[in-house]
């Protein structure tokens, strides 16, 4: 009897371990297959020309495979959206965690969650049919499908990530610190700015990085509202073609295992590396500055 139980026990332990490694296996599979399908493009162009080439004409004869404008577009929409989403996300997090009454925060929190749950295609559609004509009229520009519109839509997709992770960080600041500050005669606001925020800075940084990582990898919004022109933008109202949009719109037309097909996978590699770096940095910050007890900040 005891023997049978011991065997079951060991079997289950091993089984669970094997299943738990599935995530890592999958991550490796993603990398392996991206590289397998992407690397062949470098028989046609050098890595340097691929990344720093300004011209993306994959279907011309001869084709040009330079994704600099796509990379710049991705970075531009991400940064511009971060300018909106970072303050909005962090301020909302502070409001929920520190200021709002329990009742109010119990209404706002689910709202932020629902905002996160909106399918990206719906937000893209909204940007196309409502925001684009609006921008076009107000700013008198040739098209409302541009960098600014895409950034605005992306901002609302990364706000929930930034907000809920920042809120967790703020919540984990021990109450004794707040009390100490209030007892010294600081106002609630001064306590938030001088004690709570510095103490939760690492968590908030993680939140911001993950929010930006979400924005750079988001596909449908940039596919539908960024405008799709593969040029390096000169103004925030220029149409752009970020990497995910390029992959999503061209893969259907690229002949199987043609140079174009491989070039799109190689673009996927670049995109993957960007988000991978974002995630590694976020993880490193979260791990290094992990709050252990009240003594460490």
């Amino acid at each position: 009897m005891s023997n049978k139980r011991r065997i079951t026990e060991r079997t289950m332990h091993t089984l669970f371990f094997v299943v738990a490694s599935a995530s890592i296996v999958m991550l490796f599979m993603i990398m392996i297959f991206l590289f397998m399908e992407g690397i062949p493009i470098f028989d046609e162009v050098s890595v340097k020309d691929f990344i720093f080439g300004k011209y993306w004409y994959p279907t011309s004869e001869p084709p040009d495979f330079g994704i600099l404008s796509l990379i710049v577009a991705s970075l531009a929409v991400t940064l511009l959206s971060a300018l909106i989403s970072i303050p909005l996300g962090i301020l909302t997090a502070i409001y929920i965690a520190e200021i709002a009454s329990k009742k109010v925060s119990e209404i706002i929190k689910p709202m932020v969650e629902l905002l996160a749950a909106l399918p990206s295609v719906v937000i893209g559609f909204f940007g196309m049919v409502l925001v684009a004509p609006f921008l076009q009229n107000v700013f008198d520009i040739p098209t409302g499908l541009n960098l600014f519109n895409a950034s605005l839509m992306l901002a609302f997709m990364s706000v929930p990530t930034i907000c809920s992770l920042s809120e967790d960080a703020i919540h984990s600041v021990p109450n004794s610190l707040r009390e100490a500050s209030l007892a010294l005669g600081a106002t609630h606001l001064e306590t938030i700015l001088k004690v709570v925020l510095p103490a939760s800075l690492s968590g908030i940084s993680t939140a911001v990085i993950l929010g930006m990582s979400r924005a750079i990898g988001e596909t449908m919004v940039v596919l539908m509202v960024a405008g799709g022109a593969a040029f390096i933008p000169e103004s925030i109202f220029d149409p752009v073609r970020p990497m995910p949009a390029s992959i999503a719109s061209e893969m259907a037309e690229a002949p199987f295992r043609s140079a174009h097909y491989h070039a799109l996978f190689a673009t996927g590699i670049v995109l993957f590396i960007f988000t991978f770096l974002f995630n590694i940095v976020a993880d490193h910050i979260a791990y290094k500055y992990k709050q252990v007890g009240e003594a460490t900040l």
Partner: protein, 291 residues
């Protein structure tokens, strides 16, 4: 002291009031954004929704008719995805929360999960295309799409299951072990039943996440148009999110089908937000009961 510097005190309080209002405004903007988007879709979409719309396939090169194949396709894909993500996700969370001891191994696994969660959805699409569609020769099919979506939903499933397991008081585990139960007996007789409602909430969230995704199924499962409903897991399908994208950007008559686009978007929103709302309400009740 407070008597001697009342003006400074007043200024500090005034400043605080202003800044707090800014914080409040930020929070309101989020709610407003959600409200505007949902209101806009309802206002424009509700007229399109009727019995025919929900129960008929599209006709006349998708300029008329309904979206039944899309609804069925999205249900198949999201249920398929969760059938894959749930067992693997629950088992991974059990390993991480119940078996693994803190150390390098668990850190590596968690890093892997975090990174998987951060992989862009379009990259999942490329992965699904290269692995399931091409390499495993599944073709553009429900099974290939479900596997791709399943891989994407996995980190969500692991996260919510871990939260549910952490909410089970340690005293339950100790009591069970103290009675001579093995670890596995403790897990499946005490820990899992107690965590079950939380795991189910996570599952609903997982389904809704999978239902709303477009990029991963573009190359792996979804097609422009197929009038028939799927009969096997190797069939290609239409899907609500992809249908919206197609009608809004690549249809033959983008303006003429606007009402269909709104209608489809509204159905998708109902589906996704409805499931989320159920999960959120259910979870807040659970949390209250736990306290």
């Amino acid at each position: 002291m407070s008597v001697s510097v009342p003006s400074l005190q007043r200024r500090r309080n005034f400043l605080q009031k202003i800044v707090f209002n800014v914080f409040c405004l930020a929070a309101l903007i989020n709610g407003l954004a959600l409200f505007i988007i949902v209101y806009f879709m309802i206002a424009n979409g509700w007229k399109a929704i009727n019995w025919t719309f929900l129960t008929q396939p599209p006709v006349d090169s998708m300029t008329k008719g309904g979206i039944l194949p899309c609804i069925v396709g999205t249900l198949c894909l999201s249920i398929g995805a969760i059938l894959i993500a749930m067992p693997i996700g629950v088992a991974s969370a059990i390993y991480l929360n119940e078996y693994a001891r803190p150390g390098r191994l668990i850190r590596v696994i968690k890093l892997g999960i975090n990174n998987l969660a951060g992989v862009p959805s379009i990259v999942f699409g490329l992965f699904g295309l290269a692995v399931f569609v091409v390499w495993l020769k599944m073709g553009v099919s429900i099974i290939a799409g479900s596997l791709t979506l399943g891989a994407m939903t996995l980190p969500v499933m692991i996260g919510s299951t871990e939260e549910a397991l952490r909410a089970v008081p340690d005293t339950y585990r100790e009591a069970s072990l103290g009675l001579g139960a093995t670890k596995w007996q403790t897990i499946y007789r005490v820990v899992l039943p107690t965590a079950l409602p939380g795991i189910l909430t996570g599952t609903i969230l997982g389904i809704s996440r999978a239902a709303g995704e477009t990029a991963p199924i573009m190359f792996t499962a979804a097609v422009f148009f197929t009038p028939s409903l799927p009969v096997s897991i190797f069939d290609e399908v239409m899907a609500l999110p992809y249908h919206i994208y197609v009608l809004a950007t690549a249809g033959t008559e983008i303006e003429a089908t606007r009402h269909l686009q709104y209608g489809t978007a509204l159905v998708l929103i109902f589906l996704v937000l409805g499931m989320n709302l159920i999960a959120i309400i259910y979870r807040s009740r659970l949390r209250k009961r736990m306290q």
